[in-house]
């Protein structure tokens, strides 16, 4: 009894720990094991292939496209949301009238799933239904926006929709951080003769470092996980020009009955995630000390 009383705090963690241990770590381990088998439609543990599935994934043309796209998408998506989010945050921080309304407008896409907005986005991007059609109908005959139909450009459409959804969240992060900056520093810089842009560049933006870190990690993991986005917008097309690791994994596991290959690609995504996340976790943990 005394033991339990003394360990009560740790014991209260136990349910969560058990749940996460099983549903995160147990399942990751299982995925890794499946990636070593010859599982097709369902998990099977009667034929082992070692790391052959990894070789098969890496030699698959779709994976090649997926990795290439991920590099483009990841960079532009993270960069884009950071620039847009920071820009909007700085502008909103200029004592703007109707700030609340604008903020809500920037933030609301976070509330929506791509199941809700997918069709609208497809249409907006489509040259004969969306923006191009609209602008041409209204008289701007030379307006052209048909990236979604071009294999080389379609991935940028995915970036645009992704930025639309997540920029508001990044904006909120930065705005929160901006409001938390000690105003004395800014006053001091002003006394020292710094101009508006110089203050932002030299004083404020460096002070947002923690917010940058958080934003990069959040956006980074979203970019690795983004699946709904592609499915709603292009279904991986044209052809498989907008394939991403996440769509590759889903497609192979569930549509193509190549579960072992899907698992292998999942494990590689997890490795990528770990590389990105662990330094962040490390800093999170030091933060609390």
């Amino acid at each position: 009894m005394r033991f339990f009383k003394a360990r009560l705090p740790q014991l209260t963690l136990l349910p969560s720990l058990v749940l996460v241990a099983v549903s995160v770590y147990g399942f990751i381990a299982l995925t890794f094991v499946i990636s070593l088998t010859r599982s097709r439609m369902l998990p099977r543990f009667d034929r082992w292939e070692g790391f052959d599935n990894y070789a098969r994934v890496w030699s698959h043309p779709r994976w090649e496209v997926a990795v290439e796209n991920f590099a483009i998408f990841g960079l532009l998506y993270i960069g884009g949301t950071l620039v847009i989010g920071l820009g909007l945050a700085i502008l909103l921080d200029q004592k703007i009238r109707a700030e609340g309304a604008l903020r809500t407008i920037y933030l609301y896409p976070m509330a929506l799933s791509f199941i809700v907005t997918g069709v609208a986005w497809q249409w907006l991007m489509s040259p004969d239904l969306g923006l191009q059609h609209a602008f041409r109908t209204w008289g701007w005959e030379s307006f052209s926006f048909d990236w979604i139909t071009q294999s080389e450009m379609a991935i940028y459409c995915v970036v645009i929709a992704g930025a639309w959804q997540a920029s508001g969240f990044v904006m909120a992060l930065f705005l929160a951080a901006l409001r938390g900056i000690n105003t004395e520093i800014i006053s001091a810089a002003r006394m020292d003769g710094a101009s508006g842009p110089a203050i932002y560049w030299h004083i404020i933006i460096p002070a947002l470092r923690p917010a940058f870190l958080t934003a990069i990690v959040v956006q980074g993991h979203l970019s690795i996980k983004s699946y709904d986005l592609v499915v709603a917008l292009t279904r991986g097309g044209p052809g498989f020009a907008t394939e991403l690791p996440s769509t590759f994994m889903y497609e192979f596991t569930f549509s193509r009955n190549e579960m072992a290959m899907g698992a292998a690609s999942a494990v590689m995504m997890l490795v990528l995630l770990t590389v990105l996340i662990v330094p962040y976790l490390y800093s999170e943990l030091r933060h609390g000390r």
Binding site: S126, P127, D146, T149, S151, R235, G237, E251, S255
Partner: protein, 415 residues
């Protein structure tokens, strides 16, 4: 400790939150027919069953042409909680039967004589080791050309029966300021056109290169030719076709924006929905060079191996799904033709009647094949290997020769 806790909470929730397992006189059916004509069609079956005293628990999950439903189905089966029946395409029936999850319908099938009325090529998917495991409800034919009758009349065109006529017609349509061929831009839509072209090159080529995945046939001149024709067809599409849904392409034909579309017989639904009659305002003909041959895809209700107490309801459902009256009503709503060959054709439209006649003909001639694009040509992994190349070809400037080579490599790698 935690397990009991979660179990306790779970039990509590499931009590308060109204989840009842399928009762003995109910069937739980997983499918992806959720809207429009499909939903209306499935409602017919539900009503039919209700009349027989069997309840219907609906587990529809739409999306990705059944992909989402198949994913959810896998979760259900892995959880040890399969539905009574699930809609499946032919190859998927085979996969699940191979895994040993499907039940045996022989009792019903024998009593009702399914073997005599279902074409053998369809039977091949509905049975496993000589036992019926799935009830086929329809036969779709994916290789149709749909055309705007107004444009054709205006330009004095008739439905093409050869590729030369097809291209001549397309040229004329383009010259008149319309889109020659309305296209949708998804891999399955592209494959629907390509497989029809392969069939038009020769049914024997289709059989060798697609059904048998013969490497020599895949690298043959005939396949190169099919890609050449495909390239020319693609040339008549408007530039914005990528990613377009098939029904929007159909709408282009209906509105007179485009002259023709190559699409399966489900396109009729859009025509009817627009208040028009297939065969009149929107003309239909099989893809040039494919008359006498027949590609099909069939929706099955695969029956899972359920407990004794649920089997009566399950048999009821199989029987209802295979009844002549249901197959007629259902397929009239769906645009397809019955899987039974003994359903009267009188109520079907012109296009449907053509299909029904061709089906019998093709069965006799041995030119009835499963459609690759629609899950009846190859297992999922191999099918995807074909589709990868076809869609890549359609969305790049790959040469027909290179496409044939890529096909050999891709399919060879997936086998």
């Amino acid at each position: 400790m935690t397990k009991y806790l979660t179990r306790g909470v779970g039990a509590l929730l499931s009590m308060t939150a109204l989840s009842a397992p399928a009762l003995a006189d109910e069937v739980e059916v997983m499918h992806w027919w959720t809207s429009g004509g499909e939903a209306a069609a499935i409602a017919v079956l539900q009503e039919d069953l209700q009349a027989r005293g069997t309840g219907w628990v609906d587990m529809a999950i739409a999306g990705g042409g059944g992909d989402a439903a198949m994913t959810a189905l896998r979760a259900r089966v892995v959880a040890g909680n399969p539905p009574t029946a699930a809609q499946m395409l032919g190859m998927t029936v085979r996969d699940w039967a191979d895994e040993g999850f499907l039940g045996n319908l022989n009792a019903v099938a024998e009593a009702e004589g399914w073997n005599d009325v279902v074409p053998p090529a369809v039977q091949a998917f509905g049975t496993h080791d000589g036992e019926w495991v799935a009830a086929p409800v329809n036969i779709h034919r994916p290789h149709w050309v749909w055309a705007n009758a107004g444009i054709f009349e205006e330009l004095g065109l008739s439905m093409p029966t050869t590729w030369d006529e097809f291209f001549a017609a397309a040229d004329a349509i383009e010259a008149a300021g319309h889109v020659g061929v309305a296209m949708g831009g998804q891999a399955w839509q592209e494959a629907t056109i390509w497989e029809a072209i392969v069939l038009s090159v020769s049914p024997a080529l289709y059989e060798a290169a697609i059904i048998n995945a013969d490497m020599d046939a895949l690298g043959s001149e005939g396949i190169v030719e099919s890609f050449e024709i495909f390239r020319r067809v693609l040339g008549y599409a408007d530039p914005g076709y990528a990613g377009r849904d098939w029904n929007l392409a159909t709408a282009m034909v209906i509105n007179g924006e485009a002259g023709m579309q190559i699409m399966g017989d489900w396109a009729k639904g859009e025509v009817i929905n627009a208040g028009l009659t297939p065969g009149e305002q929107v003309l239909c003909a099989v893809v040039p060079g494919t008359d006498g041959a027949f590609l099909f895809n069939t929706d099955f209700f695969a029956m899972f191996d359920v407990g004794e107490d649920a089997q009566a309801a399950q048999r009821n459902m199989a029987s209802a799904a295979m009844s002549v009256s249901f197959q007629e009503t259902f397929n009239l709503a769906k645009g397809s033709i019955p899987a039974r060959t003994d359903v009267p054709s009188a109520n079907f439209d012109v296009c449907g009647q053509t299909s029904m006649a061709d089906l019998v003909e093709a069965t006799e001639a041995g030119t009835l094949f499963g459609s690759l694009a629609h899950g009846h040509g190859q297992p999922a992994s191999v099918q995807a290997a074909y589709l990868d190349v076809v869609t890549q070809f359609a969305n790049s400037d790959m040469t027909p020769e290179a496409a044939a080579e890529a096909l050999v490599a891709s399919v060879g790698g997936a086998l």
